[in-house]
Amino acid sequence: MEAVNVLTHPQIPGEPTQTSTTLLEKATATIQGFGPVNKIHQHLCAFHFYGHDMTRQVEAHHFCGHQNEEFRQCLIYDRPDDDGRLIGIEYLVSEELFLTLPDEEKRFWHSHEFEVKSGVLFMPGVPGPIQRQDLEKVAKTYGKVFHFWQVDRGDSLPLGIPQVMMAMTRDGQLYENLSQDVEKRYNISFAKERENRAYMTGPAHGIHPMANGGGQGLQTVLREVECKPVGVDHSAARVFV
């Protein structure tokens, strides 16, 4: 079975950016501070699938920054290009932090051991020995991913509700056409890298049984709730307008 190649997908609807808009935004880019974004130092390529449907798989380009040694926050794009679509978010935590989570919460998080050791999670452009110094740490972490834009089903806009995503935990899950496409594009071999990463180990306490959906599929559902009544009527308290 083949997965859809998102690189061939239709453009986002809309007019091309006007010159005046581009110039204005060049100005704002120069004047303003981009502190939180400047912390993003790393590009990781991996694959996700939908928490309720392993047959829908997505190539995911993570752009990550460290909050501290044990916590990373990543923006996920469908392509590592100027016009890449921002499709999701991932948080990575150390095993220590993961173990502090309530069991109900652990379900959302997936283990990284297999992704790293199999070679499919990698840092484009970074030589093997350097990558491995970081990835051997990543192998022990857990990740929580939501996607907001289902590019794999051809959505040209971010429609619908957030999706819980999961990642590969054993051989045979990742579609060969997806992995071969990436290997060709980046001129790498996952099999070779797997050999190089054989020394790595996963979480010290083993992969927690509540991680990876707790062994079940996870599906999001939208529910309408009554608007919580406000205690203070702020319009009365406002001085202006």
Binding site: I12, G14, E15, P16, E25, T28, A29, Q32, G33, P36, V37, I40, H41, Q42, H43, M54, T55, F63, Q67, N68, E69, E70, L75, D82, D83, I89, Y91, V93, L97, L101, R107, F108, P124, G125, V126, I130, F146, P158, L159, G160, P162, T169, R170, Q173, A211, G214, G217, T220, V221, R223, E224, V225, E226, K228, V230, H234, S235, A237, R238, V241
Partner: protein, 240 residues
């Protein structure tokens, strides 16, 4: 100063050991070798306010780092402050009214309008002179946004917990009014006055019409929540 910004009530959010020198060097190395193109496309910082759609008494100051993909579409990484220690709390997509009108009504319910937060001076581009950003504000005033929050740092969550929640925008009606204390705190930090900006923005045209499916709570009194259900995963091989 930065370390203090990361703490709330004495507890670090998120918890964890400080970055090791080794990790700093690995990061620097990667940064030199990798191009990080999509992230370099962010060219605006917007500071505004948002409300939880399922509990509009909870209101937050937000910091959007915005990339424009075309004249009708923007995508934003949203943080809880403008500092380098800021936590990534969600994603917002912004579309022109033209694109919004093309969406199915059920989809439109998840979106909010931007006209009020711009006209009222709540939405600002820190450090940018008002006149420079005026054309962009006129454009944004006619747009609609869809904002998912993935980390509720305002209620003290040390790590991102639970499913994403849908956020709404400030509106000039009871539940949508932003707590003045929040506004004052933000204004003081950037040495601006939302009130003054509101006066300066009187000339910004109001949209002729705001689609009633947007800001759904105004006419329907409901917000939205995302439930997560355990289900049988469609598989090709066993998981995990």
């Amino acid at each position: 100063m930065e370390a203090a910004a990361a703490e709330q009530g004495g507890e670090k959010i998120p918890p964890g050991k400080p970055m090791s020198m080794e990790q700093h060097m690995l990061d620097k190395g990667a940064q030199m070798l990798q191009s990080l193109k999509p992230v370099k496309q962010m060219n605006q910082h917007i500071c505004t306010f948002a409300l939880y759609s399922h509990d509009m008494t909870r209101q937050i100051e937000t910091h959007h780092f915005v990339t424009r993909l075309n004249q009708d579409f923007l995508q934003c990484a949203v943080y809880d402050s403008g500092d380098s220690t800021a936590r990534l709390i969600g994603v917002e997509y912004i579309v022109s009214d033209k694109i919004f009108e093309s969406l199915p009504p059920d989809e439109q319910k998840l979106w909010h309008s931007h006209a009020y937060e711009i006209k009222s001076g709540l939405l600002v581009n820190p450090r940018v002179p008002e006149m420079v950003v005026r054309p962009e504000l006129e454009n944004l005033a006619k747009t609609y946004g869809k904002f998912w929050c993935t980390w509720q740092t305002d209620r003290g969550d040390k790590l991102p917990m639970g499913p994403p929640v849908l956020m709404m925008s400030p509106q000039p009606v009871n539940l949508g009014m932003v707590n003045p204390d929040l506004i004052v705190k933000r204004d003081d930090k950037y040495n601006i006055s939302s009130e003054a900006l509101k006066n300066a923005r009187i000339e910004i045209p109001e949209p002729e019409w705001i689609n009633p499916q947007a800001d759904y709570w105004k006419q329907h009194g409901v917000g939205f929540f995302i439930d997560v259900e355990a289900t049988e995963m469609k598989k090709i091989v066993p998981f995990p």
